[in-house]
Symmetry: C3
Subunit: 363 residues, 3 copies
């Protein structure tokens, strides 16, 4: 799988210069690029790396003097970071999953597979499942009863999808993602200490032991088109209606979505984010790693939450949030700065008190 510089440039809609017939074997960082590699140097800071490596062709920043750098050919993408998308799609060697149905796969006779579906070794497809055209079901995957997968789904190895889950077209699901577990919803016969603590915020004293009784999930999970689910994600079923994810939303690894959560379109949810039951997330929301979202709250469109932010209450659309508890990011940064001055502030107030009140108490 090799491409000429001209082919790569064309696929990116980018300008090319020099001997564009040069054949490229792979992409590489400038300093470690070999003679058949395309060096990725879309910022002037990579110029030095280029001189250390052996690349003859490079993807460069606008206006770079490729000839002075001794290159044979160069590609000039308009928006370099965006060009990475097309270039890496072109050069991706993939996982090498086979085509067709592996003889060791176990497929229920009532499952309906579209055209050109491939099913990996030891995968299981349960009764009533429907798999869209061109989908890839990886090795060791489990597809539950009455699951619907849209066209061109791509499931890596050891993914599991529970009964009645519906996923749109072109989903990508990374290894070991879990969709459709039962929601974490329990109730006690009498009102529990948790219900009471939510009201009082105070200690609950000696709690009488009460067994937790399961509320089963009758809903399932509905996921839109062009969604990605990362490794080790866990997405619970809804209690009555489905838990939902909109179109083009991307989940990184180890994201947890509780029962009844709804996430809108076009969100970016980074690693280890946890979204508690019944929270509603708007469109175009970005959550950095380890963000937490309280149960039953609403997070508006376009909200951005920095790493580790804990959203404890509703967040209006358009806010940029940080911290625990979450505050608008600029205020939080001011607060952090103020906190660092707190030990000195304590001393200053003690001094003031001494002077003003003639206090000589040791504090």
């Amino acid at each position: 799988m090799t491409y000429t510089v001209a082919q790569i440039a064309k696929s990116l809609g980018a300008e090319a210069a020099g001997d564009t017939s040069l054949v490229i074997r792979r992409a590489a960082e400038p300093q470690s690029a070999g003679a058949d590699d395309l060096a990725l140097a879309m910022d002037p800071k990579y110029a030095e790396g280029l001189s250390q490596g052996a690349a003859r062709a490079a993807m460069l920043w606008p206006g770079a003097d490729w000839q002075a750098m001794g290159l044979t050919a160069a590609i000039f993408p308009e928006r370099p970071r965006f060009a990475m998308s097309g270039m890496t799609r072109l050069m991706d060697k993939g996982q090498g999953f086979g085509t067709g149905i592996h003889p060791s796969a176990i497929i229920d006779p009532t499952a309906v597979l579209g055209k050109d579906v491939s099913v990996g070794p030891l995968a299981i497809i349960s009764a009533g499942a429907q798999i869209g055209d061109g989908s890839v079901i990886g090795p060791h995957c489990f597809i539950g009863m009455d699951v619907t997968l849209g066209a061109n789904a791509y499931l890596r190895e050891q993914v599991s999808i529970g009964a009645r889950v519906t996923i749109g077209m072109r989903c990508i699901i990374q290894p070991g993602a879990r969709i459709g577990g039962d929601g974490f919803s329990f109730v006690t016969a009498e009102p529990s200490t948790v219900e009471s603590a939510r009201k009082t915020l105070g200690d609950q004293g000696a709690a009488a032991a009460q067994p937790w009784i399961r509320i089963h999930s009758l809903g399932s999970v509905t996921i839109g088109d062009d969604v990605e689910i990362g490794m080790g994600c866990t997405i619970d079923c809804g209690t009555i209606r489905d838990t939902t994810i909109g179109n083009n939303t991307k989940l990184d690894n180890q994201v947890h979505m509780g029962h009844n959560v709804s996430i809108g379109d076009n969100c970016l949810i980074c690693g280890q984010v946890g979204i508690a039951g019944s929270a509603r997330i708007g469109n175009n929301v970005v959550m950095a790693g380890q963000v937490g979202v309280n149960d039953n709250i609403f997070v508006g469109d376009g909200v951005i939450a920095g790493g580790g932010t804990k959203l404890m209450s509703n967040v209006p659309a358009g806010r940029t949030m940080l911290g625990y508890p979450a505050t608008q990011m600029d205020k939080q940064v001011d607060l952090y700065k103020a906190q660092r001055r707190l030990p000195r502030l304590l001393r200053e107030v003690a001094e003031l008190r001494k002077v003003v009140f003639k206090s000589d108490k040791d504090d």
Copy 2:
């Protein structure tokens, strides 16, 4: 699987009114309920939803005027949230796992399976394992050597249980949960920087490289009756004795329990909670999402910890905690409020100093 209104009411021990012979196909939210659905409207705020939907029967709040709402039949549960438990159990369609032993399952001849055990496709049951009567071992599950599972265990797909783990009756284990990994316990030949940092809290300077040597886990994991383990949970073996979970304790998804941890009865541990090695958790403890528990500490009976709380030291019984580091919840909320006034406080003290000390220094 349909029920009449009378059957549902009877199973919940609830009053019913109207034409209780009406046949119900499924439960639904009021606004989206169809003519054969039971609308769930146990709070007056759902009245409007009811009028938007097409339900003829509903589960209602006490005293609701079902006839005025145009309903044909109604159910009046005593404690509505608790009624959800019985109703959802009744209406749950389940995962459709087959009965009996799937021919593709691999079961060691020395494993002992009770009556009416079902084993899913491509599951593995190792030597010496004992599976209690009526248990369901899901597709792709792995049951290790000498594992004991009590009666009526229900394991979803792709669960793995390591050697010598013991689990009581009626456990429910969600997809991809991991029980019985080796504990994370390492030692260096000479005292390490961690041992020294724990004493001094200060920087450790240039650390000599020392390889970490594994301390193997000789213990396993012992889990009581009526326990649930969520998707992607990871529960480590104990070093010498077993890691333990008491009866009726429920773990949400992605909970991590280190080696030697003990959790009591009747606890509720929410998503992404991490409990470090050798921590001891009492009975009736509730931890919200993303709580962290330090190693070797003790958390007393009935403690409640809010979302994201990091318990860094022992917590007496009955406390309601919040924050990082954890503080009693009401004090923590006061502290959060005070913190927001900190930038203004800094200005005020600067003003005071100017007046009192005639200081004109810019701060």
Copy 3:
């Protein structure tokens, strides 16, 4: 698998006393030890436990009077915690995985297996994979295309390793660990609100919807010798170069490593730590549970981060850090103490203002 007291002592390089021909069946905690157990009582605080149990032999603290405690034999290790390593390795009963290639395993004919490799039931080894001598591939494992595993790898059940991952010798990988997912790297056609929020820290207002386009991972993952990966870990591929882990580094359960991350040698990364894309971690670094590391930052050699710490910016070598945002641990502890005095401080400043400014405003 039994050993005499003499054999155990010899394997630890420790002194033994008394009837060292006594045969030991297993290790146990002092209070629950039986007559054939070796009680582990390496600290005087365990003396009372010893008297409650029935052990005839014990591993004891230096100078303990074993005869006065009624023991028949005793072992005196030089560094007790280190002795745990040798003792537990000796007494570990393991998982009982079989030897040889299980007939249900699916191994591509182009895969190359070394001498004495064992492959568990229903494991899959893909085309071009190379498995070093003496390696154990557990049940239900998936080894991707062109993966290289060094000698004496030990993979527990249901581990998955994606295409082109390279792992050194003697790795230990716990159940359900995921190596080699695609990185979480997306780009929008036009600059996104995230790019702009990073610059301004402020709210981004109404964001125009822009679809996220994947940047594929062309790199893979390279892992050194003597590395351990915990249950449920997720390690992403690099974008151009490989994501890397050095020699002798240990990852606890549910650790997340984003694309392009590099971790040095000899690090200890505890449960649920998340390391965002392109972060670089030095050697001998220790991160306690639930630590978060921002993307693209550098964490120097020998850094120690306490539980829940969020490292938001570069950390020089040798630092001991705590908190969110991370600060040097001793300063952070001072800060926590000062914070607890904040509500009182607010009252004191209000008093001062009243006196100094004759202010009678209620605040």
